[in-house]
Symmetry: C2
Subunit: 286 residues, 2 copies
Amino acid sequence: MIVYSSNNFIPLENVKISPFDRGFQFGDGAYEVIRYFDKDFFKLEEHLNRLKYSLDELKINFHSYDKIKNIALKLLNENSLADYGALIYIQVTRGVCYPRIHSIKNDIAPTLFISASKFIRREKEINEGVKIIFTEDSRWNRCDIKSIMLLPNSMAKGKAIQAGASEAVFVREGRITEGSHTSFGAVIKGKVVFPPYSNFILRGVTRDTITGILLKNKFDIQLREISPHDSFDECFLLGTSTEVTPVIQAGNIEISGGKPGELTKKIQTLFNESTSGTAGKQFNSV
Amino acid sequence: MIVYSSNNFIPLENVKISPFDRGFQFGDGAYEVIRYFDKDFFKLEEHLNRLKYSLDELKINFHSYDKIKNIALKLLNENSLADYGALIYIQVTRGVCYPRIHSIKNDIAPTLFISASKFIRREKEINEGVKIIFTEDSRWNRCDIKSIMLLPNSMAKGKAIQAGASEAVFVREGRITEGSHTSFGAVIKGKVVFPPYSNFILRGVTRDTITGILLKNKFDIQLREISPHDSFDECFLLGTSTEVTPVIQAGNIEISGGKPGELTKKIQTLFNESTSGTAGKQFNSV
């Protein structure tokens, strides 16, 4: 497997991340995962804009956004992935800082790491729906930054898996924020609802894409605080790998009769049509 | 510089941390910093116990606590530090996980990294006191774990430095928790006060040591919620490198007349005597 690290395309086993990289010692970095299918990247610009937002908020001096696309294309070729569905993983950290100090140094060169891997779409989950659990949102208060401080996300996801569920959805002070690696949406009283963006919620590329599609199709979208105790007609998860995944059970509560909701299926169809339109091929046929 | 990584003593530049190490991609690990002076480690067992607490809480399968002392001693020798004051940095992460998945795998081998560096005591700060700022505690809700998710700590420390201060002290819902890398203590109405330990506060090895010393010397110690608006006779910071550092200004407010408080100086003296007792040499003469 060839990856990109320290300005080079090299085998993964040759990569030398320094133990004094602030990504390793401080969680001091941000990342993006971008989907590639049908010989194109899905919402590349939106992902790079979000990466820029994250790094700007963290005051990490990274400016090489322009070269990411070509690096990703070369990685797809080097790894014989260009004809498949793939995920591009991009991580930028503040860089190497020795001696280790708590305060932030801004005169160091950021670390850029990029890898590409084959993507297997989760057909069963997308078609049949998943179970989720609700769990306390234990994260810091800047979840609008896609930082690599993902330990609470991992712990929550692990808790979900242990409970036989696919995803953990965070609840902060009684309000649903988002999943451990997905956006959360619901249908309540016939309307599509999302929790309003704040410092507790990441701006979702897929959520924004779907919001655009729904508005174009004259759907009513309500932004409001959502409680796990709300009466849900339907729930769904959104994300780069997740696409539009129906939720059919939340904890012990069955959602929309234990099968994907009708409006959720409509959103899936509209999303698939839209991606077909932009990328020239059915999203779900990759 | 020789460090310990992947079961080997090797030059720092030869260390290969994998980009798929969960420490690098998820902040999934914990650490300790232990002080070495006068040919001995200060509170080694307490630090290793705390490391075990952190890793057990994170369900990281690490069991090699017994070998850390010998590794540290060898690093001190290899780096010609054995006759100086030094800091031992120990980091354990969950290990390397490829492909990257959010949920936690427990069948992977943890990564252990240890380094030793010369320690320069901050004489001026300890003798003359420092300025602090109060800042919102933006961290996650498991600060009792000494995890490597230190980005909010770094950001707060950076904010302090920018304000011409030495340390940022976190305030969560109106209550002081701790500094970005120190414990916080105060003197209010003649009594030494600490915030009670909770999931928002790390159990401090230096704070616990000093608590023991003060109780032995018949001091009254009060555990109570502390507001940044309390009327402080004195404030001080505690930590492995920080020792007992007086606070002489908090934001724009002068503390104890802008010079180290009398009780704080008494605590410094008792701490120095105590470390002299255990390690056979004045702590501050290293």
